[in-house]
Amino acid sequence: MNKTDVMNKADVMKKADVMKKAIYPILVGLLVVAAPFLMDAFRLNLLAKYLCFAIVALGIGLAWGQGGMLTLGQGVFFGLGGYSMAMYLKLQEGGLPDFMVWSGVEKLPALWTPFANPVFALATAILGPMLLATLLGLLVFRQRVRGAYFAILTQALAAALVILLVGQQGLTGGTNGMTNFYDLFAWDLAEDSTQRGLYFVVAVVLALLYLGARQLVRSRYGRLLVAVRDGEDRVRFLGYDPATVKTVTFAISAGMAGLAGALFVPVVGIISPALLGVVPSLELVVAVAVGGRYALAGAVLGAVVMGYAKTAFSEQFADGWLYLQGALFILVMTLAPKGIMGVIKRARTA
């Protein structure tokens, strides 16, 4: 068998694969479109929330699953996006935001003024996290900080940001964060129809990002990323700078988290430090691990499954749901190290 044969055979196999694999995207697509007709506004809203988390998870899947950067501080980027959006929403109401009133702030801080512009707010929500990630990435990846060091550093970053946000009550709403939003553009956020629309927006954004990320993973760059994950030092001797590769990926995943945060705020109606600290950041990584970190679909699936499981368990067993959540997670991690997608893949090839 010579080389061209190898290639041709691979091509043929791929085509057959594509046909078979197309079934799943179509099924998922149908489900997404049908969801508003299958569930009430409250449940649909929860689903939209899970999908927001799925966007963050997608970024984690990219950075961690593909690139080996275990980021435990993704909440930081999510939070930056969320706060940008929240500031815009708060300024929509006109007058001084409610929390400034009870915090004794008399004049709108200069930092806030540009956020009255929705374009600025949205751009900041995405570019702000990317910029921060680039800065951090350049700092740490150049110094070859990696593995557990990187993980714990990002965790510390999340903890530090929470403390900063909490401490600047007049500027950020402190522990409370920001809540009580009314309108997004001209739509009343309390209306079910607005929420349905938001759901579709989130779903479409997720789908687009997923396709983009998949393209990236399949490209040479994706292979390079895996190579960096498995042998960063060796990659240097192939003539690549791993720090750049990692930084770019980290920035992309941060941008995703930022966008997710911006979508989350109108959907859920609150942003607070509790959403971006160590625990929520870890929860999302855990979700990715459960879904299967090596497949992007696993990241998305994990976020939805874990989000749903948390809601369902806590509603059924207000007292003991943590046991179930913990047990589910520990079992998956122990029995299926590659997560749900790993199990699916094994079942498919067997």
Binding site: L70, L139, V140, Q143, R144, V145, G147, A148, Y149, A151, I152, L153, Q155, A156, L157, A159, A160, I163, L164, V166, G167, G231, E232, D233, R234, V278, L282, V285, V286, A289, G320, L322, Y323, Q325, G326, A327, F329, I330, M333, T334, P337
Partner: protein
């Protein structure tokens, strides 16, 4: 000025607490590559041990070592041993375990804090430093020396390091890696138990106890160079002092942020922490 001078022993005593909570963590990471997020809950188990043995403070240090050690042993056998070579995964796994243990404590001992009475001989102090702080410092030093002797002076210590450095080779060199793993995790967790008893002198004893210390403990471990005993000692002292002075000049929140920032800045110069093991091989 007096207040300023006082901050020095205070910083060292903060460092002693940091060292005590980070020691077991450093140990398990250094010897096994396991990042144990449930370490905080083993500390909590130590604290509850002291609660269950009222009036027996010193014996409870010993009992707590075995209680927390036994919990670690169970965790290792049931789950961790499936994860060797995947240290970052153990971080997530043990985090799940920590949540479950917290809730378990809530159900066993109730949600509110419980009372652990400090022994009378620890009341009072010298100058600004209370006896209980001095006791913690002494305990931290004793634990470090004990661990150091164990690692450097005993066969078991060397065996442990061999398993960590090359698991496969250790097995084919005749070392029972499974037993070494159990023992290592037992000791690392046991150290958390000791820390837990000591912490009852200065802090709350409740289900959330572990969560208050875990991030700080990690910072010490990172700044010290994962798994490096010397590093952990210096890092704990350094962070303790930095914390005490930063808080003195600003406030507790800012001090925390300053400590985080300092660690990040520090890693710019020493990307692998204070003390590191270099190796010729490509990772």
């Amino acid at each position: 000025m007096e207040a300023f001078v006082n901050q020095l022993p205070i910083g060292l005593s903060i460092g002693a607490v940091l060292l005590l909570i980070a020691l077991g963590l450093t140990f398990t990471f250094g010897q096994m590559g396991v990042i144990n997020m449930a370490h905080g809950e083993f500390i909590m188990a130590g604290a509850y041990t002291a609660f269950l043995l009222p009036g027996l403070f010193v014996p409870s240090l010993v009992v707590a070592f075995f209680v927390a050690g036994a919990m670690g042993l169970v965790l290792e056998r049931l789950a961790i041993r499936h994860f060797y070579g995947r240290p970052l995964d153990t971080l997530l796994l043990t985090w799940g375990v920590s949540l479950v243990l917290q809730q378990l404590a809530r159900d066993l001992f109730g949600a509110p804090n419980v009372q652990v009475k400090a022994p009378d001989w620890l009341a009072g102090g010298i100058g600004i430093l209370p006896y209980n702080r001095l006791f913690i410092m002494g305990l931290a030093i004793a634990s470090v020396v004990g661990v150091w002797l164990y690692l450097v002076r005993t066969k078991h210590g060397r065996r442990m390091r061999a398993v960590m450095q090359n698991r496969r080779l250790a097995a084919t060199s005749g070392i029972d890696t499974g037993r070494v793993d159990m023992l290592t995790f037992f000791i690392g967790s046991g150290l958390a138990g000791i820390a837990g008893v000591a912490l009852t002198l200065v802090g709350p004893v409740g289900p959330s106890l572990g969560t208050y210390y875990i991030v700080d403990a990690f910072l010490v471990v990172v700044a010290g160079g994962l798994g490096q005993l010397r590093g952990a000692v210096l890092a704990a002292a350094g962070l303790g002092l930095l914390n005490s002075y930063a808080e003195f000049w600003s406030d507790a929140s800012l001090a925390k942020v300053i400590v985080f920032a300092a660690v990040i800045a520090f890693l710019q110069f020493r990307p692998q922490g204070l003390f590191t093991v270099r190796s010729r091989a490509l990772s």
